[in-house]
């Protein structure tokens, strides 16, 4: 018997984007307000888990055709790359730089290389949680 999850599925479709937005907000706000890559990553994967609950693994992986294990690698590469990038400028490992820039669309914006590092954290956390949940979910 197939249950009809229409309310759950409809609600998920709406809530998913709210959660994603909140996650992205947490991530970007990290440097000035509570949040950061870790919580942002967890929240993003929480949104995907919600879809997993409402639909099934197959559907979700069609929606997000990502191999999360590769995401872990990409994230680590981001973090390690940011760390190693400092070496190119003849400063110690993991030295960050920041400054205000006038960007065409955003106007005056503060940019920080720590953000790149945090992106690495963000991607790794998503990759890790999704790999674990998907692997356990798929196993019989």
């Amino acid at each position: 018997m197939k249950t009809n999850d229409v309310i759950l599925q409809t609600a998920s479709k709406v809530v998913f984007f709210i959660i994603i937005l909140f996650a992205i907000h947490l991530f970007f706000a990290g440097h000035y307000h509570p949040g950061g890559g870790f919580v942002g990553g967890l929240m993003t994967s929480g949104a995907i888990v919600l879809l997993l609950l409402a639909y099934d693994i197959k559907t979700v992986s069609q929606g997000f055709p990502i191999d999360y294990k590769i995401l872990i690698g990409v994230g680590l590469l981001f973090a390690a790359g940011t760390a190693a990038g400092a070496l190119l400028f003849n400063v110690p490992l993991l030295t960050h730089a920041f400054g205000d820039f006038n960007l065409p669309l955003f106007g005056k914006t503060s940019l920080h290389t720590a953000m790149l590092f945090d992106t690495g954290v963000y991607l790794v956390v998503i990759g890790v949680t999704m790999t674990i949940i998907q692997t356990i979910g798929e196993s019989e």
């Binding site: 947490l26 706000a29 990290g30 440097h31 000035y32 307000h33 509570p34 949040g35 950061g36 890559g37 870790f38 919580v39 967890l42 929240m43 929480g46 294990k69 872990i72 690698g73 994230g75 680590l76 973090a79 390690a80 760390a83 490992l93 993991l94 960050h96 920041f98 503060s110 920080h112 720590a114 590092f117 945090d118 690495g120 954290v121 790794v124 956390v125 990759g127 890790v128 949680t129 790999t131 674990i132 692997t135 356990i136 196993s139 019989e140």
Partner: protein, 806 residues
Amino acid sequence: MSLLHIAIFSPFLMAILVPLFYKGLRRIHTGWFVLILPIVLFTYFLQFLPVTRNNEAIEKSFDWIPSLGVRFTAYVDGLGLLFALLITGIGALVVLYSIFYLSKEKEKLHNFYVYLLMFMGAMLGVVLSDNLITLYMFWELTSISSFLLIAYWYDRDRSRYGALKSMLITVFGGLAMLGGFLLLSIMGDTFSIRELIAQASELNDHPLFLLALVLVLTGAFTKSAQFPFYIWLPDAMEAPTPVSAYLHSATMVKAGIYLVARLSPIFAFSEYWFWLVGGVGIFTLFWGSFNAVKQTDLKGILAFSTVSQLGLIMSLLGVGAAALQFDGINDNVYTAATIAAIFHLINHATFKGSLFMVVGIVDHETGTRDIRKLGGLLSLMPITFTIAVIGAFSMAGLPPFNGFLSKEMFFTGMIQLLDLDLFNLQTWGILFPVLAWVGSVFTFIYSMMIVFKTFTGKYQPEQLEKTPHEAPIGMLIPPIILAVLVVVFGIFPNLLSYNLIQPAVAAIIPSLIEPGEKIAVHISHWHGFSTELKMTIGVVALGAIMYVTVNKWNKVYNLFPNKVTLNTLYDTSLYAAERGAYTLTKSVMTGFIRTYLVYIFIFFIGILGFTMWTEDAFKIDTSQLAPIGIYEVVLALLILLGTVTTLIARSRLTSILALGTVGYTVSLFFVIFRAPDLALTQLVIETVSVALFLLCFYHLPKLSRHEERMSFKLGNLLISAGVGVTVTLIAISSHSNKWFDSISKYYIDNTYEKAGGENMVNVILVDFRGFDTLFEICVLGIAALGIYGLIKLRLGKKGGAIDENE
């Protein structure tokens, strides 16, 4: 690297070549190639005789580990040369003998000669080293090569047993000796024996002196098979007979004698040295000869006889130490004991070597060494018989052989002790001549047994595996040479006096001799109708009577049951050690993780509690405490409730949920302690981990899914309470002992100034201390891949993937 060093190392170099000869030139017995080396070495060492005759020495040295003061100093004096000549001379004879003893077709000759050459080189190194460390190195090499040689027929059980036994005992002694050497070098600040001898009188008062003495003697006694370490020697008789003749009578077992003689100038002033060396030696003499009589195997008799004769030499060296208590060598009668020791050392090497070869011949030609089966071989093997008579009569101490002379000198040394007013000798001194005399009686008995039980009596061809006949000439030449030496030294003992004995004695008691002076060594056959001669006559008379009536009194050996022997002690203690270690491991390593946790926790409580206690570290300082608000109290009660529920819940599901409560309360604590980042993270992580717990719970196997409360164990309660109390005490104490201000002020000041952020936690995580974060995300990645690997990669025991459908 001088010629002398090359001479010492040449056996090792030759040993490398032996397998080439063996594989390349199969038709010629490998022994012939090997034979060249000891002969060359023997003649090489002979050329030092004129040097050592004048009590001079040759010294060649090269650095081995200069930073540690380890040099390889080759030092040739009278004592070293005497041993070097014994080693190479008897070595040559044994190699010649082995050529005829070991079959070219059946035996693994390359192994045999490699081991033998290794042993020869090691032995030369022992006797010619002046450096304690090199001496020790060669010493252990002799142990190892002896081990290999005893187990030469490694497919026999008894060989392996004997090899293991000798290895364990001699290596035990060797390690003790190394300890003694290190103590000596600490005391004297040098590894050189001659430099140590030079400062002997200062070493005598050192607090470590006695310990060094005992340790060095342990090494010497184990190697030289003294009581109670002699037990390996009879079992080492499983080796091929050339090995027994070479190692276990003439050379290796004399390494301990050499060590005692070599270090006498350092230790011999001490009373302990006198009693240990002399006392152990004389008792070994008695014990060895007493036990030799009950043996039925010819090699067994010879093994115990070797033990006994080594005890004789050892006791003479101990007694010779008394000479050092008097100044000068004029009128110093106690040097006689040392002279006798060296003389008997040479004699023993000659007659015991020949006797072993005789026994080897008998074994080779009849197939047995059991004296109960042998008999009546006199007419069949006349030459062997003649050699046996010469060797055995010399061993028994009968004229005109060399054994007679050294035994007389031995008695002289022992009797002179009675006049000595030292070391409490008035009370116990009488034991020396008495034990010496009794031991000699037994020596006479077993010497006669070797000759007469083997060669006379009834011929029993049905008991023998082969038809006996005279040995091939090559097998006879080495024992003939030795027997001739026995006779020659017996008739012209003074051939040796100033060539070999005097320089060796001078090396043992150097402090008595002025430069250019010589010790009077004159061995005379007839020194009047003295006490010694009466003792010898007594030995022969009583020995003859006892030999004839041996069947009447040999029940005395049954007085000691077989269980009360040193062998049983060795076997049971080895068994007990293995058993004990096994039981201990079994009882401690239970295989249960909870047991190990108990160990860890008890150790944790013990070490921390003990430190707190001894350091008086507990301290409460309430001045730094913040006021407690109502929220904290409520949350603390909540968390307590959650904890208690987790512990006493009947169902696992309740425990999981209670644990979740604890987690969420912790995140509430983070909220009221103003840690929003932590609160957020804790909230999400707690959710994830509770979900995972539920997953685990859902998949528990149905069969053993008992819903029952955690069982109560008082021990567990006490340990967990102990851990809790310990941690709490430490937390309180460390909070009350803040010695430095926190460094967080720096972060507060610089978060925006230098890092361009306002969220201090995040700035610390990604900027100030981003290095930690880098590796924490690595940990996460590894965990994820680990889970992926665990679930996806299901290999069976043989490495193949498990098919999940089966």
